[in-house]
Symmetry: C2
Subunit: 383 residues, 2 copies
């Protein structure tokens, strides 16, 4: 298991440096060492998120960050537009609904991107919508949405734009301040190369105003309380924070900082292109078009006669490469290759070589080395 090549879209492999940092001795979460830790991590996240907005951290999965948005920013009965182009868009809609919002979904074919013009039309038709929710990077389909374009298409300034950026933070360009994204929800276990268990939320001044006008229905997710504790002279959290995960995140943030954010984004984009080239050389198709294909995950359409479960089982057991299946309505129709976080060209080559061999094992006509060759061409051209 130690040599398994984990190529799922998250949780992603944690760099040894970060994993070991997480094993450091426990500290008092009300003391000065913790204050320094929390300050460094939240400031590091501001740089990664290219935002001046305060970044709040919660001991939670990313789904918790989504729920926090619903609890703080939407009063029961308020109308919210959720763009749904995959499983995670559907999840955000469900979270909003369960929290009491009056949810309108704007549905797109899974594997395509949210169309800014469609968002504009929906808002023009219904002036009571005060919030638009978009999944920045839809992990279930391997599609990245054009957040900047969506904001430009929104006809009113007072409409809050909320982005689920759980699978894009630290891997795909995201400029909330420049683009006018009011709320960013992220998590530790994908581009940030940290074990799962930390959700993050960053709010624009406009979003804070809305929070101030909305009664928060949760003690756990209370944004105002989290900010109040964070802004004390010795930064704290309202309740016990996930100290060891913050240690690990601090180390991963230092690594991302050292690599340089532009380089990180470029690395992900190049590796994704190499994966897509390799997959196509195998004669397989990707679910997403090239114009909106994600840099963190590639959804590959299963050809007739190739059973996803069998393929993934073989890849895991015989070749030590772990990929992900399809979710929701895409279960059994696709498989997914994650290439996010602590990933490099070696992982891509190993994955494609394993795919070649496994596909041949299952009777597909596949030429040895062809996918790897296609990937090498992309990698070579990009230096």
């Amino acid at each position: 298991m130690d040599r398994h090549c984990l190529m799922i879209p998250g949780p992603t492999p944690v760099p040894v440096r970060a994993a070991l940092a997480g094993a450091a001795p426990m500290i008092n979460h009300r003391g000065p060492e913790f204050g320094a830790l929390l300050r460094e991590v939240t400031e590091g996240l501001q740089r990664i998120l290219m935002t001046r907005n305060t970044v709040l951290l919660f001991p939670a999965a990313g789904t918790g960050g989504m729920e926090a948005v619903a609890a703080n920013l939407v009063a029961p009965g308020e109308r919210v537009l959720v763009a749904v182009a995959g499983e995670f868009g559907a999840r955000f809609a469900e979270i909003m609904r369960v929290a009491g919002a009056d949810v309108r979904t704007l549905d797109f074919e899974w594997g395509t991107a949210v169309e800014p013009a469609a968002v504009a039309r929906a808002l023009e038709e219904d002036p009571s919508i005060g919030m638009v929710v978009v999944t920045h990077n839809e992990t279930s389909t391997g599609v990245t949405m054009d957040l900047a374009g969506i904001r430009r298409a929104i006809p009113r300034d007072d409409v809050l734009l909320v982005a689920d950026a759980i699978s894009s933070v630290g891997a795909i360009e995201l400029r909330p301040d420049e683009w006018g994204v009011d709320v960013v929800v992220g998590a530790s276990q994908k581009g940030l190369m940290t074990p799962p268990g930390l959700a993050l939320v960053a709010l624009s001044p406009r979003a804070w105003e809305k929070a101030g006008r909305t009664r928060c229905r949760s003690v756990y997710w209370d944004f105002a309380a989290a900010r109040r504790f964070l802004e004390q002279p010795t930064p704290q959290t309202p309740y016990t924070p996930a100290v060891s995960l913050l240690y690990a995140l601090r180390e991963s943030l230092r690594m991302l900082q050292a690599e340089g954010l532009e380089n990180v984004f470029r690395r992900h984009a190049v590796l994704a292109r190499a994966v897509r080239a390799g997959v196509r050389a195998l004669g397989l198709g990707t679910l997403a078009g090239e114009d909106c294909a994600s840099s963190t995950v590639t959804a590959v359409v299963l050809p007739d006669g190739l059973e996803g479960k069998k393929l993934l089982g073989l890849l895991r057991q015989k070749y030590g490469v772990v990929l992900a299946g399809g979710q929701g309505r895409l279960a059994g129709r696709i498989f997914r290759v994650g290439h996010v976080g602590r990933v490099n060209w070696q992982d891509v080559v190993v994955t494609l070589a394993a795919l070649e061999m496994a596909c041949r094992d299952l009777g597909l006509e596949v030429e040895h080395g062809r996918a790897v060759a296609a990937a090498e061409e992309v990698l070579g051209a990009e230096g």
Copy 2:
């Protein structure tokens, strides 16, 4: 910092074995290795909790487990009785209130225990109360409540008894099935010797019935969904679990199992008695009476002229011993010594010796070695 003696009531020091286990390579949270991990951990927790009830785990602080109870088991407007004898009782009341419950608090002097007879009277006076919430071990005051006695005092079988056992799980005897405690909320970072970030909740069949009749207002805390995923042939969770914390918890559970639960409880009780004896030998008083004093934390009353902040700062900076201050209305009136989790007699001796020296530094009349001697007497008698 590496030699700091962390004697706060949580988060507690993590055994090196468990901390390093948390650094193991990441795995697919939908795969068989994770299923085996989750199964071992939940079964191990059942043994620690001495319960046949399913134990659900959430990526969250303990406070999240409290909020989960409110979201799943209490419909808006339902009347709940919360016994408040300290900061954490007050927190549970606040969580219930914010979630929409009609909360009645039953207040006790901070430093005393919840009286079963008072609970009985409150329920007799108000037959509309369907739930009683009690903090099993009130960390802010160092008092352990008599849960079995409280259950016996509850006049109706259909009243659910909810225990916040966050600071008692794995350290103080707790027999929910035998005592009739319907809901147990726990967390990883105290008696379970694991980093913070995992909340656990165990529900009796009666509590599950109530959950079935109550609309859950949360996707994140949904008990039924968590159980459904857990009971699949390959156990899973509805969203990404805190994998590294589960690794660490598995290791800590193995250590507790090897020591033997009765021995674990006894160790905590003996060390607590040694701490109290030492504190008294210093001429200081404890907030809690001997009949209800906690095995995990001792609240020490600050004598006139001794400033808590000064004492704790000196202990930390000069002697490397980290204690906790008072919370809420007890801030500045007490300090607290935690003795929970991976704690042994050496920690107690070091803490008491540091206290002796720091108190002398601050001008108190303290005889060198006196507190340590009193502790040794307790430790010696207990073998």
